[in-house]
Symmetry: C2
Subunit: 352 residues, 2 copies
């Protein structure tokens, strides 16, 4: 059995019985029943996922995976390809959006080179796990081989497992890769069965003309490669990216270890589609951080059956939405752990 | 000039010029323009409010005001009146929702007895500023005198000013008072000119029958008292509450000191209506934390022209929504302060 198969086999249904116990406790806490709304739902989900009735969210990590995309050569992005590597350096120096927001919520950032074109300088904060120096241009053929696709997913699994060894109560996902909304739109179109136009947006902010071009490049990539919607690894190989495969692996490993996985935006959503196609149960371990301004994201979330926590018009990626949502997951667990019950506090209960 | 008039006179327009400078900086940071969505808007608002181009949100306080309502005698709530005092003790012991969430976001909680019926035990964490031991029953006459209404607002002003002396970068509002959704619905109906049914909900969770009763009590209170919609103090006196008046004062004082005020849910919203009626400019200093599950809240926010940050189905009050939103305000300020610019990070800018 391969590492991927083994991980999938370890993913069990979440613990609904424990979730019921959590509901009972939530009802006993000094507040009108259900009055903390989605925080209460979230607390129950964390209990169901972890199987712990009083889960503590202390050790938090956001895995940010970076890789380059051959399709960037088609001119689908507003930024030059070199920005992928430049932004990895920015992550390492703490100057990026994710650096600031992960600090704010007390989460460590795990930066992974899954396939940046450039050879990056050695840095203690950087995990170099290049599958290759960027994908091939999917407009002309498969982005990667089937073997590379599996390797990307298994690399993600290994990285999540190594993080768990350091202590891990919640896992966030994040991405960096110029042109990766192009790849993600292709994945979303194929795996949700939606037309390309509906799941494609302006990414980092391209104009109308370039958006038309991006649409035709995605159409061409799908036509050229005919990815098989019933085979997620095939879809990843034909139109995916190394960071996307890696993030799918992170999600599968998180679920196999019963760790809640907070899914960031559209690119993480594409990875979630791949993970869910490989193992539908993984969806129960996912928490959707937010709904991105990128139009395809809403469709991806609906397909996954996930309701986003935040709606702040974010479209940066990097795990920035996941960081903010991780703080809500932590808050939800604290409600369960730290609030007094009616009995403990000597507060009268509801009369009717 | 009274203290209230003096405070209102100090409220100046927010600094749009500084907000433009903030926009320039946001555009120079290593992210696609506008890609942090509402966090960027929020950063700009904090700059406009404070007049500081690099505002730091370090010292955070949530003022939670408690008071009893005579109208509770009409049986409009699912909980007995004694719960107001019991919950104040729960706040003081750290067992309530606001205790947990304010801790989570690193905000201090300032608990104020604005008019709890019971004489509360002395506690170092409790400010006793009773205007009276609860309002009169508004179903039969004015909830308080005009003098008491002004005193409630001025007490709120003094409390916010005393907090500012301790250092204060952001202020949140919160409430506790059995039957205070009844009072808030009456205020909302009168000040927004909406029918009572539209702005009245189930509060702590009453059944359909009791909701009908609550509606008729509110209608009766408005008919009996004929509050003057053009005179906010009259509305507060006739159908308001001491905690609601106090919170309106907190908002006015916050604005007068150029401190962002994060408005919690429906009861804080009713207080915001009073504050905005006294000084329309105060709205520019308000940040709406969330949209409550209580149906009148959406109407209040629309009337104030505020777009809520969170939509988590909260309906607890106490400042719980404000606590979560304060964390976003802090995050927004950190984006402005801590992210690297394209130039600093050596990242290439957009091509088109």
């Amino acid at each position: 059995m391969t590492e991927l198969e083994q991980t999938i086999k370890l993913i069990r249904p979440v613990d609904q019985h424990k979730a019921q116990q959590a509901q009972k406790r939530l009802n006993s806490l000094t507040k009108p029943r259900g009055s903390l709304g989605r925080l209460e739902e979230l607390a129950k989900r964390v209990v169901a996922i972890t199987g712990k009735v009083r889960p503590k969210i202390t050790s938090k990590a956001i895995v940010v995976m970076a890789a380059d995309h051959g399709v960037a050569d088609e001119g689908v992005s507003a930024y030059p390809k070199a920005v992928t590597a430049q932004m990895v350096y920015n992550f390492l120096r703490g100057g990026a959006g994710i650096s600031v927001l992960s600090n704010h919520v007390g989460a460590r950032v795990v930066i992974v080179d899954m396939g940046v074109a450039e050879e990056l300088e050695v840095h203690p904060g950087l995990l170099v796990r290049k599958v290759a120096g960027g994908t091939a241009n999917m407009a002309h053929g498969a982005a990667m081989s089937r073997e590379e696709a599996i390797k990307a997913v298994e690399t993600g699994i290994q990285i999540a497992q190594a993080q768990a060894d350091k202590g891990l109560d919640v896992l966030g996902t994040g991405d960096m890769g110029i042109a990766n909304t192009t790849s993600s739109s292709a994945i979303a179109a194929v795996l949700t069965g939606t037309c390309v136009e509906t799941v494609t947006g302006r990414g980092t902010g391209i104009d109308k003309e370039r958006l038309q071009h991006k649409l035709s490049v995605i159409e061409k990539a799908i036509q050229t490669n005919s990815p098989d919607p019933s085979d997620a690894i095939d879809v990843l190989a034909k139109v995916g990216g190394f960071e996307i495969g890696g993030l799918a692996g992170v999600m599968l490993a998180g679920a196999s270890m019963r760790i809640p996985v907070v899914i960031d935006g559209f690119i993480s959503g594409a990875a979630a589609l791949i993970a869910a196609a490989l193992s539908p149960q993984v969806k129960d371990y996912m928490i959707a951080a937010h709904c991105s301004a990128e139009p395809g994201h809403r469709i991806v979330l609906e397909h996954l059956g996930l309701e986003p926590l935040l709606n702040l018009g974010l479209r940066l990626g990097e795990g920035t939405g996941a960081a903010l949502a991780i703080s809500l997951v932590e808050a939800a667990a604290k409600i369960l752990n730290e609030m007094a019950t009616f009995e403990e506090a000597g507060v009268s209960e509801k009369e009717d």
